[in-house]
Symmetry: C2
Subunit: 405 residues, 2 copies
Amino acid sequence: MALIVQKFGGTSVANTDRIKNVAARVSKYRKEGDQVVVVVSAMSGVTDNLIKLAKEIMPLPSEREMDMLLATGEQTTIALTAMALHSIGIQAVSLTGAQAGILTDGVHTKAKIQNITPKQVHSLLDSGQVVIVAGFQGQTPDGHITTLGRGGSDLTAIALAAALGADLCQIYTDVDGVYTADPRIVPSARKLKEISYDEMLELASLGAKVMQSRSVEFAKKFGVIFEVRSSLNDNSGTIVKEETASMEDVVIRGVSLDKNQAKVTIVGVPDKPGVAARVFNALADAAINVDMIVQNVSSNAGSPATDISFTVDKPDLLKASRVIEGLKAEIGYRESVADEKIGKLSIVGVGMRSHSGVAAKMFETLATEGVNIDMISTSEIKISVIIDIAKGEAAMRAVHKTFLG
Amino acid sequence: MALIVQKFGGTSVANTDRIKNVAARVSKYRKEGDQVVVVVSAMSGVTDNLIKLAKEIMPLPSEREMDMLLATGEQTTIALTAMALHSIGIQAVSLTGAQAGILTDGVHTKAKIQNITPKQVHSLLDSGQVVIVAGFQGQTPDGHITTLGRGGSDLTAIALAAALGADLCQIYTDVDGVYTADPRIVPSARKLKEISYDEMLELASLGAKVMQSRSVEFAKKFGVIFEVRSSLNDNSGTIVKEETASMEDVVIRGVSLDKNQAKVTIVGVPDKPGVAARVFNALADAAINVDMIVQNVSSNAGSPATDISFTVDKPDLLKASRVIEGLKAEIGYRESVADEKIGKLSIVGVGMRSHSGVAAKMFETLATEGVNIDMISTSEIKISVIIDIAKGEAAMRAVHKTFLG
């Protein structure tokens, strides 16, 4: 008998038939004697509809009231999921985030979980119930309803697994697990049996859309081992856990390509202290998230000047360009150039630490493919390069072949 | 400065434009310095959609989970109403039934309010907020979400008005108030300025659709004076309150016609003790609500037999007829006759107590109109007759003319 937390996202509960499928899957575990906690999201489309209603009333609604509004989405799903379990003879009871004891801070629409009191859930499990908990939501110590922001239901599942001391946490999604690369681009990509938290974090931040970083960070912090698997079949998925010695035998775990980045280059920046700080403070003040930053050494010895390049999410490019234009008089650079036609190609793997020459091998592969490298950024377990987006997919296949076959 | 509770039903908040209208109305009172508590129902159609989803999963869903599901309807409206007030510069905060301190018993889908802790609402009002409370819902002392059943939002408003010691409770609806008769049938019908709780209760139970009896009973019990008025205009409505001496000057307050009744007559029932009890116990066991009961004295002196007639809601007629057929062998009556083509015409007024000859005047009016009376039932402040439904509306106009002009 194990205690299992299972999380199902919006597409897995999109309509009453799919909710019945979820119930059937839960019942299989329950009938084998496992205690099951089910975390569900809002039915897909429901949250968007609620947001649309709010926007009809005002463009920027109060965040407290948005939370009050959006929390109804998951509350609807938990009730329907409990009914679906009842209809196949399984005892089940639904709980809102508040009822499940999920306490958060008061930062509405992106609250952080502060504490979970698992007493109520434990006692319901012990009385033979499947417990269905609304994902994405909690309440403040003062009793205000909060939501956890993007990826919030994954976070609910992982936090509950930690608080309950669950034996297993399963994140059901519409893919089979984590792959060495996107199989739509790299046909030879393979599903990974396991991956370390750090590798998963790098992949998440590099555009692999399986999970939000914050849930993985939370799992890492509390040592929650979880499995990413498909709600459409019974295949085993990918186990995400702490790094093991055997993981280092593999040089790289995966290859990712992020097409959602854009690059700004500021050319001819006077090479004096404080200029970079000025640039990135101005971008931060405009709430623009900067990813990679590269500053090239000046080549003009006469008047010391340098070039600064950085990447931002594509939707922020126009805003970023305007911020930089606004600094022209103050800083006195020559010109700024925006480029949307870039891709960020990355390789990730804890094995990099113990294998030398990985970067050289990647660059050599790209050179052979005739791919020029614009920017390079590395971490302990990751190498990212900015390249021409037109060559992105071919480059990805070549790099995958070099390292992963 | 007054403390006002305002309740808006499903049609008044049917879409975001109507919710903005509600906000505009609330702001008028707020700007005059009043403290305002707003109670809202689910947007019309929302509850039906949720019920449909539940029925897709199972025909008889758990009542606890139905409450979990349906409570989302009002929660959606309170958030949108708060936003609509914000959009016109009014401070407002939404509260679920639980957050507003509405404690109920654990009878899911038709819970009774046990207690209201108004501390949170008072403190929000004192800090200058309009407080928007989800109607129709509460929570048990154990923290389970409950709903109050039909007419539940009216009940929330009246119970809150009692708990808060409100100066005024306004029930906004799609009619202007309470009329002496349905104006669609009796063109000379007039809107009443005031009406006693008891008269309102009789009218509610007689098919006037303005409000459910239980809310009026609650208001009577706690002495909550409330006004029924339209959300479509600024006309003053009808004040419902304790009977006053001046109310007795008016012989009758109103005339109603209930077309939703049907009659069953059991002919030739052996006139011996216990038969009536057997009949009405069997109907009660089948959960059939019986309204009027008349037993005629037997005319056949040889074998003592009598006729028993009773009325039920039209949708229950078939079920009632089957129950009676099932008793035939046991009781040994001659035959049973069902009649759907009846109407119940009633006059209501506390003035009846101090004016004699009211019944005679009503029967005389009906005789002049050529209307035959099937059954008669009276209370202290009401006289009801069962007549041929085909003559119902003409009879109603004639009786209205006799008493109300």
